[in-house]
Symmetry: C3
Subunit: 271 residues, 3 copies
């Protein structure tokens, strides 16, 4: 893309960030125990309203009033999977967009089976690291678990394949992110090497992708790239003063909350 | 109340804070996954000892040795509800005071039913935001989930109604808090607009209310206003140097730990 | 031991820290809800890779690929206990070393029974506070729950007894730590009084002990003292600038990440 194309692409991100802050959409998260607190704080920092409502008894009902749903299988178990399936189904029926974070889905048979069933419920956006996306497309990944051991560039073809086959948006995050809906694609630079050293940063991103999906129901591709742009800029800013992963974690929340709407065009990380 | 009355009311708070630090009461929390870490740190910061013992197999037994019990339905599920009911029952039987935090109880049928059953087990103190308290009294609230969309002032009548009907203390928190036992009532000013932007701040407050309830068994009204006073002062102090919600969160824990016993009379936030 | 002996003992710690950072071993944690985030961040900070894979459906399978397994009963329930037993068994069968953190095991009948069953599965290392270790050896402890009310010195005999009887390494942590495998023993000084005021510090330590156990399979005694040494040095450094428990928590993660390999010999906390 030309610089002008990229600038044109950055404009909707700016409007979406303003919309998130104006509407404070309810983002329902069925996420893992490790990330719940940090993801909720990231959703609050960006201006949306997190709701960690997960149980089978109420999560499907709640999905009908939520602005978006985020499902993350980081600490999966049978009762949670059962609820995730029912809630994704309810979201689908209600037209609530939902985001899938397939954490370490290739690590065990239980996860491999779970992810197949979740994929069939048509997530609007899939957000994962390179190893996860390569494995999702059936490729051989170097990842052992939650960590990414492959470069994003090696996952771009996998991302496009999944996007086309599943009619979804795929966001691969790493040193340089990649977002595609099969037809369109863009890279996002920025962030910080400290981000993978803070647990739940990826999970928090998936939750924030949900916040943007809630205010961009007709175009989840733009929602994903707006959310990733916010993380790229806030990550870069937070790293300036961080002395390690501990100080990065809270500085990053401060930076998310302090993002000016127009930073997404002024400092656009789209490449 | 006159300034003298308020000052007289602040005095017991000061003794209670000293008692919390001297006795380090065990505060058993059946709370949500989002808040567990932050609530435990807040309880430690104020000088008490948190115990997140929640399972049906042991929580009722533990309630008999705990100084107070705190039940928060933020991430409710059937097994947790079952344990909450048994544990509240055990607390009631043992004379252990217990605090109820009815998070988003009006959001789903599952929660509405759960909260009715919990209320029947006679919490000593109920701590919620304005939307939750209005809905608890049967009113129509603007809240959609965990966020408060009503002002505390609009919940004061609801709080009094619940306090009288349920023989309990009701603490409504927001920009200016309100505490009542039906007969007595007081407002508490202070805190910071950053507090609702940090997830689990309300849950942490409910846990700290438990710490004070443990050392003020004969007067839960004073326990509640002492805990809320600590949060109001610490919140105000933490906000001075905070640059956003990320830095506020840890500064607030530092501020709680640094509260001088006599700040509750010297800088009393009672109004 | 003479200063020369201690210095000789510190040398392997230094190699192990380098090995953790080079190999980034997978540390599978079945730990409590309160500590999951902080423990994962501590494992990342030391250079290893945390995996909070806990469910019965997959945790035993995962234990075969993990470098080490850590089991912590802080927020125990029946489904988790069932999974812990199966996973420890799988670890044992696969030769994966595992670490037991017997949080408040003496507080309820449920825990007392659970800990007996877990001990029979032969943990390589047990890490607890003085009250927990005294109670584990059948002694009468002053602890009421998760907090330690006994001094480490009073638990040293208990630690030796357990180590000999169970053919395991016992690490007792407190103001001055004590590590023994029954034959060998060493004390570790350092840390900070703020450490017990931050929830999950002990749980995070147990997880980091797992990281070292993964790279020291033939000598868990050295793994334990290396992990405790890292915590002692990082804790001491973090305390210098900390203004309370809130700022200590993140400064400690920064300090863990910033440890130079040779600090373990240059500033050896072994006594």
């Amino acid at each position: 893309m030309t610089p002008n194309d990229l600038q044109a692409l950055a404009l909707p991100s700016q409007s979406l960030l303003a919309a998130v802050r104006r509407d404070a959409p309810l983002v329902q998260c069925l996420t893992n125990y490790v990330s719940m607190n940090y993801a909720a704080n990231a959703v609050l920092a960006i201006g949306a309203s997190p709701a960690m409502v997960h149980a089978e008894e109420e999560a499907p009902e709640f999905a009908r009033i939520a602005g978006a749903l985020v499902i993350n299988i980081g600490t999966l178990s049978s009762p949670w999977l059962q609820s995730m399936l029912l809630t994704a189904q309810a979201a689908k029926a209600a037209g609530t967009p939902w985001v899938l974070d397939p954490v370490a889905h290739h690590a065990t048979a239980f996860r491999r089976d779970a992810i197949e069933r979740l994929l069939d419920l048509e997530p609007a956006i899939i957000r994962g690291n390179a190893s996860e996306i390569i494995a999702l497309a059936g490729g051989h990944s170097a990842g052992r678990g939650v960590d990414a051991r492959d470069a994003v560039a090696q996952a771009e073809q996998s991302a496009r394949d999944i996007a086309v086959q599943r009619h979804t948006v795929v966001a691969v995050t790493g040193e340089v992110d990649y977002v595609t809906d099969g037809a369109r694609a863009v890279r996002i630079a920025g962030g910080s090497p400290l981000m993978p050293r803070v647990t739940a940063t990826g999970c928090a991103l998936s939750a924030v992708v949900g916040a943007f999906a809630a205010v961009s129901r007709d175009d989840p591709y733009v929602a994903a790239l707006a959310a990733l742009s916010c993380f790229a800029i806030a990550g870069q800013r937070a790293a300036v003063q961080a002395e390690g992963p501990g100080s990065f974690a809270w500085r990053f929340l401060d930076a998310l909350a302090a993002l000016e709407d127009d930073c997404l065009t002024r400092e656009s990380p789209l490449r």
